[in-house]
């Protein structure tokens, strides 16, 4: 190597090291610890522009854009830059991570409920607790699980965007063919297991039921209803993992027996195929939500819906409330506009025109009597079961920053048990142990 080359290399290294040092200097300053901007009334005279990532594609995006234009017409000083924000709702989180790291985050973003704790921890969400807790704000009409999800340490970071829950979708033709009675509101998990076993037909490639085992929240949240029905909890009163106690072990053992002894469960390791396979008629019944109604209807499947099977008459389910999270840009007028717009969007009059028209459940019970909901009932047969099932969503997933990590650990345990044949008790115990550091870390 010549000396000229060495010096060039040294210079290059020095440049890289210099850049790294410069970055260290600014690296520590991310995040804000000051109190969130106080959200006041919107000043109709000051021009303001807000960015809104709604996380929806195609049809839903068009409906929301139309509503945004309508709001702008009524509030000429407000401009709303609406976009999906990411190519899929799942990817919104990465976009928000990148946005928060580079200070280019939106004013309002759609967020899955399981992300809420982490986003609140950023210290860059607004607190609208004072506003929504005032009498007559309509806040208490939202389902409790949805309200709880938007709350973190007494602060409220946004509004419920979509509420849904888990129930059963079943293929009537497959039930008829196997001579099994359709699921009903009195079903127990034993009935569920027996029906799956009866319908399962490997020769004809028919599975009794399915479970998504990809290591993410899709696997985890399907276990929680049974854990709750068995009298268990995700976290105990001190915020420590409790899902690895007997109720959790019983729930996972149930699925282990179905998956490995009866082999009546299609274990979907992509977490995405099983819904399409149900729609195409090769799975007897699945634990799923109202978001699939559109797909099964399009597939012309002869289907029915029911609430989840119960344990000793307890049929509680889980609600997966998604949120409109409001972010703080240290600008009172932007904060006011963001709040006012989302407050307007989630009001009953607008909600029926967006959620209900699109096939989501209405955010409030009061929408039941609206003409839009009557259309929803005829357009999406079985949708009303999910609507009444909202009452069975009695508990919410904890809104804590460590939930995302806990969720992945539990999903991993489910995967190891159902796919790998591990012992449920040990797997859940390991998941609990692995979750402790991230739960503590707050």
């Amino acid at each position: 190597m010549t000396s000229g080359r060495t010096s060039r290399l040294t210079r290059l290294l020095a440049t890289v090291a210099g850049a790294a040092l410069a970055l260290t200097a600014c690296g520590g300053t991310t995040g804000s610890t000051s109190a969130p901007t106080k959200v006041g009334p919107l000043d109709p005279k000051t021009k303001v522009e807000i960015t809104w990532w709604h996380g929806q594609s195609a049809e839903a995006a068009a409906i929301l854009a139309k509503l945004a234009r309508e709001y702008e017409k009524d509030h000429p000083n407000v401009t709303i830059n609406d976009s999906a924000g990411a190519s899929s709702t799942d990817e919104l989180l990465q976009k928000m991570q990148a946005g928060l790291a580079s200070n280019t985050y939106p004013d309002v973003s759609y967020a899955f409920g399981s992300w809420a704790g982490k986003l609140a921890q950023s210290g860059r969400t607004l607190d609208i607790a004072d506003l929504v807790k005032k009498d007559g704000s309509g806040w208490t009409e939202f389902p409790e699980a949805a309200r709880l999800t938007a709350e973190y340490k007494g602060k409220v970071m946004g509004f419920p965007a979509v509420v849904d829950n888990l129930g059963l979708l079943y293929n009537k033709d497959l039930f008829d063919k196997a001579g099994v009675a359709y699921p009903n509101a009195d079903w127990t998990w034993d009935d569920f297991r027996a029906a799956a076993k009866e319908i399962n037909n490997p020769a004809e490639k028919i599975s009794g039921t399915a479970y998504p085992v990809a290591p993410d929240e899709g696997a985890t949240w399907r276990l929680w209803p049974q854990v709750w029905q068995n009298g268990g909890a995700i976290l105990d009163a001190k915020g420590q993992p409790a899902f690895d106690q007997d109720p959790g072990v019983q729930a996972l053992t149930f699925w282990q027996q179905m998956a490995r002894d009866d082999t009546s469960v299609y274990l979907d390791q992509t977490g995405q195929k099983f819904e399409q396979m149900f729609a195409s008629g090769s799975i007897g019944m699945i634990m799923d939500g109202p978001w699939l109604l559109y797909t099964v209807k399009e597939a012309k499947l002869n289907y029915g819906t029911a609430i989840l099977p119960g344990t000793n008459g307890d049929h509680q389910t889980i609600s997966g409330p998604d949120l409109w999270v409001l972010f703080d840009h240290k600008d009172a007028q932007r904060a006011a506009a963001a709040y006012d717009f989302i407050h307007w969007l989630t009001a009953p009059e607008q909600d029926v025109r967006w959620n209900v028209a699109y096939g989501n459940l209405p955010l409030r019970k009061s929408a039941e009597t609206s003409p839009e909901f009557a259309t929803f009932r005829t357009d999406f047969p079985g949708g009303d079961v999910f609507f009444t099932n909202l009452d069975n969503a009695k508990q919410a997933r904890p809104t804590v920053p460590g939930y995302q990590s806990l969720s992945l650990n539990v999903a991993k345990a489910i995967n190891e048990v159902l796919v790998g044949g591990a012992d449920p008790k040990t797997a859940l115990h390991d998941a609990a142990t692995a979750s402790i550091p991230d739960l503590k870390d707050q």
């Binding site: 850049a19 260290t24 991570q97 290591p215 390791q269 991993k412």
Partner: protein
């Protein structure tokens, strides 16, 4: 204009250096030079060097990109050194590379030789082999997911027709990685074939003729003329395929997501999981630096090997 000036300066510089003096570039030639390489330099600085620097800073932090970061020194690297999941991921990546790199290079060579002969429908075969390479890995992965589906896939249907036992493919811990190797070979062998074809057509007919005149048979021509001529391309494709193997992510993401039982979690997929699912961007950056180090060492080794054996590939 600039080109005229710079060639003039270059000629001047050559002349002065020939006279034995150190050529001092004029301000104008320096500026002209920078005008040429400036844009590219900015792109490289902005898109490669800057993120690389930032990633290194991140790797010294506990950082989820959402909450304020904490400087933790080298503890991410220390944790990494004792992380069994990391070693598992490294092992899966190594297994994949050992299966994928030699097969794709050798297979590419054989196919290129076959396609370099005057055969009927040559263009058709060449197109067939190259088309999958043009398709995105994501599309390839999604397609493969349906072909290799345990229950409904075409692969198992074919086995059934042939009265062979059904396979688990992507759901079998022992087969999943092999299936991914097969999918990536299908998707990327076109690249090796293309480079080898170009190299084969570059071999001067004169040398071959000379060897034939000297009485060499076909095999001897191949062994002593063709193969040595292909040396640089072989080093290049090996390095290239090796880097591709170490960076395997998209196929895993679209087929197995690391499943079954984490048997297909590769280094980059593990990095992705840490950064974007477990919110451990600092730890993930440390993994990125380990991957960088591995790639660097392997590449330097190959370049050194090429130099040693007098094969100039780069």
């Amino acid at each position: 204009m600039a080109i005229t000036f710079s060639t003039g300066d270059l000629a001047q510089a050559t002349k002065t250096s020939r006279q034995g003096k150190e050529a001092r570039p004029t301000l104008r030639s320096t500026l002209t030079g920078w005008a040429f390489c400036g844009p590219a330099t900015l792109v490289i600085l902005g898109l490669s060097v800057f993120p690389a620097g930032w990633a290194f800073v991140l790797s010294l932090q506990k950082n989820d990109l959402i909450t304020p970061s904490v400087n933790v020194g080298f503890s991410n690297y220390q944790t990494l050194a004792q992380d069994p999941d990391m070693f598992a991921a490294a092992w899966h990546t190594l297994f994949y590379a050992l299966m994928y790199v030699p097969t794709s290079v050798l297979g590419g060579l054989l196919l290129a030789i076959a396609l370099n002969r005057p055969i009927r429908f040559q263009w058709f075969y060449r197109t067939c082999i190259f088309v999958p390479f043009v398709a995105s890995a994501a599309a390839t992965g999604i397609l493969a997911n349906f072909v290799f589906d345990e229950k409904f896939g075409a692969a198992n249907n074919l086995l059934r027709l042939l009265h062979l036992p059904q396979q688990g493919f992507l759901t079998d811990t022992h087969q999943a990685m092999m299936v991914i190797v097969i999918i990536s070979l299908w998707g990327s062998i076109g690249f090796c074939v293309l480079t080898y074809l170009a190299a084969l057509q570059d071999i001067s007919q004169d040398i071959v003729d000379a060897a034939l005149v000297d009485g060499a048979n076909k095999w001897q021509v191949f062994r002593h003329v063709t193969l040595p001529e292909l040396g640089p391309v072989t080093v290049f494709t090996t390095v290239w395929q090796m880097i591709a193997a170490i960076q395997l992510f998209d196929l895993v993401f679209t087929t197995t997501k690391g499943q079954p039982l984490n048997s297909t979690v590769t280094l980059v997929f593990y990095l992705y999981r840490m950064a974007f699912m477990e919110f451990k961007a600092g730890y993930a950056s440390a993994i990125a630096y380990v991957i960088f180090a591995i790639t660097m060492v392997l590449t330097l080794f190959m370049v050194w090997y090429g130099k040693k054996t007098k094969v100039e590939a780069f």
